[in-house]
């Protein structure tokens, strides 16, 4: 049952082979047994989960089930869920029980899905290894001495260890795709504006986007069908007709044109990643796709541009944490300014403070034009490169991350080294394009490698089609870590 797809689970629930309560109990039992070694979940609420499961069983019995009714999912702890502790991986929100639901949570509730719990993450989604979480690092289920990637590392580990049927993540610079790659699962960051950010704790508003993480592409499509849609409470939510992201899954890939950016295949990545990605591209050719070289000349600037724009927006977004209305307040302080400064100094971790400092500096008087404005201009050049590339191809493929999962503590002291883990994913966020990662084999030390698929705006259905057809021909996405 733990290896079944959502479609299979949904059929089993409809046929009454299993109930949602039984399925939820199965996962809760696995979580109790395996989570202490992984730290993938940081908040559980078994009674609430089982109550949702009972309600789902009643709905199924009444013949009113949706595809996700009764399916046990995990939610990244960045999504506010009413009555649930919602920490965003930070001490700042260690006691924040959300008084409302995020749009994404509302959508899952409406569909009758079960919330198994909240997953661990880098603090305020700032990190690529899950080591910045106030609640301790997540361990990679393939090798617990290694990181799961970040910032959606708890979700990636939970999916890989079969501690949920599927789950949610968010991606500002690669936070869905990089952990998906490092944990051997599939993850999709939709086009900016497709999923409402209402109730999703903000990091960098012009880049943040929520998306599904699961073992296979078909599951991603079913989750995205529920997550996507217009929401007037998010000013960047796009008014578009509802679409079925699973509609093209069965299409053959004949004639699909794959663009390979020459910059991604220069000497950037580890040889094990290069070889594995190369084999995946060869498999796509066998499936009927053709390959063309494209160029993204400005993509080399995406890391510097991102480390101006994202911290600038973060420094503004995180100014709301002041110890007045909710969250952490320092136990001792003098005047109001002292209360702010001590609450923020004690409530935020080192990486979050570092980014707030970068952002405050680049937005400060006299530096705005040189940093923020210049970064926004280069952002346009990076986006234009993609527009140009998509004249010659339907999807772009390459590595998701330059290496497989590294060891815990390996990059701890050097922020710049850590930032380069997202070297292939950041440009996609800057352009606002959809991007995904699917497992395509194993590299050094038998750790999973991810293939990144980048689509044109609103081309999620085509990307999911490309991923699903590959997953029908290969079985990388159904491999499980030892002991799972």
């Amino acid at each position: 049952m733990i290896n079944a797809s959502i479609k299979q689970l949904s059929a089993a629930l409809a046929a009454k082979t299993i109930s949602s309560v039984e399925l939820t109990q199965l996962y809760l039992e696995r979580i109790a047994r395996l989570n202490p070694g992984l730290n993938a979940y940081i908040t559980l609420n078994p009674e609430v989960s089982l109550a949702q499961a009972r309600a789902a069983d009643a709905r199924i019995a009444a013949g009113q089930a949706d595809t996700l009714t009764g399916i046990p999912l995990a939610q990244k702890d960045i999504f506010c869920a009413k009555g649930w502790l919602t920490t965003c991986g930070s001490k700042m929100l260690h006691n924040f029980v959300s008084p409302y639901d995020a749009h994404v949570i509302e959508q899952f509730n409406r569909a009758g899905a079960v919330n198994l719990g909240k997953t661990n993450m880098d603090e305020f989604a700032m990190g690529s290894s899950n080591e910045t979480s106030h609640y301790g690092p997540v361990k990679n289920p393939w090798d617990t001495a290694r990181v799961p990637g970040g910032s959606s590392g708890g979700t990636a580990a939970a999916v890989a260890a079969r501690l949920c049927a599927a789950a949610t993540g968010t991606d500002t610079g690669g936070s869905i795709r990089q952990p998906a790659a490092l944990c051997g699962i599939s993850g999709l960051k939709p086009t900016y504006g497709v999923v409402s950010r209402y109730g999703m704790i903000a990091f960098a508003s012009s880049l943040d986007q929520a998306g599904p993480m699961a073992r296979g592409a078909e599951d991603l499509a079913l989750l995205l069908n529920t997550m996507a849609g217009f929401d007037e409470r998010d000013s960047t939510s796009l008014q578009r007709d509802k679409e079925d992201y699973a509609r093209d899954l069965a299409k053959p890939l004949d004639g699909l044109r794959i663009g390979l950016p020459k910059e991604f295949f220069a000497e950037g990545m580890g040889s094990d990643v290069a070889q594995t990605v190369g084999t995946a591209i060869a498999e796509y050719k066998k499936l009927g796709a053709s390959v063309v070289e494209v160029s993204l000349p400005n993509s080399k600037l995406s890391v510097p541009v991102y480390y101006v724009l994202a911290p600038a927006e973060a420094s503004s977004n995180l100014s709301r944490f002041d110890g007045v209305r909710y969250g952490y307040r320092a136990p001792e302080y003098g005047d109001l300014a002292d209360m702010y400064e001590k609450s923020r100094a004690q409530g935020f971790g080192a990486e979050v403070k570092r980014r707030i400092m970068i952002g405050t500096y680049v937005l400060s008087h006299g530096y705005y034009d040189a940093y923020y404005l210049q970064a926004q201009k280069i952002r346009r050049l990076i986006a234009q490169d993609f527009t140009e590339a998509f004249r010659q191809c339907d999807v772009i493929m390459g590595p998701t991350a330059p290496s497989t999962a590294f060891e815990l503590g390996e990059k701890g002291d050097d922020p710049v080294q850590m930032y380069l883990s997202d070297i292939y994913t950041i440009a996609v966020n800057l352009a606002g394009l959809p991007g995904m990662s699917i497992p395509c084999g194993f590299g050094a030390a038998n750790m999973p490698v991810g293939l990144q698929i980048i689509g044109n705006y609103f081309d999620e259905a085509r990307m999911l089609n490309a991923a699903h057809q590959y997953q029908l021909a290969t079985d990388w996405h159904s491999r499980a870590p030892n002991g799972i």
């Binding site: 008084p99 480390y307 400064e341 403070k353 570092r354 707030i356 500096y361």
Partner: protein, 112 residues
């Protein structure tokens, strides 16, 4: 270490440039409302200098005539009627506040 793009090797080959002085870091920490000890300021200065060395590469790019891109989708902001859409949930929201009294948030005295 993984061999990254030659471009980044060039950045790392640069000598650690003194982009920031401790006084700059102290000023930024104050603007950001973050209390920092002298030791923390020194650590922050050294790490931020490394990050700014990376960021500095942007300055070599000619962006004359390029429109800044502030959002991924170039769409106009939606407008809505200027009417109240939220109901009053003061008690619910204040139940999670650090300190409240008589429906008000309490902070140290600001006005003498």
């Amino acid at each position: 270490m993984i061999p990254y793009w030659p471009y980044f090797n060039k950045v790392f080959a640069m000598s650690p440039t003194m982009f920031l002085a401790n006084a700059d870091v102290r000023k930024v920490a104050s603007l950001a409302r973050l209390a920092m000890s002298e030791a923390e300021i020194e650590t922050a200065r050294s790490q931020l200098s490394g990050i700014f060395a990376l960021i500095e590469e942007m300055q070599a790019v000619d962006t004359q005539g390029i429109e800044p891109m502030s959002h991924a989708q170039d769409v106009a902001q939606r407008l809505r009627e200027d009417v109240v859409t939220e109901t009053n949930q003061r008690e619910l929201f204040q139940a999670i506040a650090p300190q409240v009294e008589a429906g008000l948030y309490l902070v140290p005295q600001v006005i003498e």
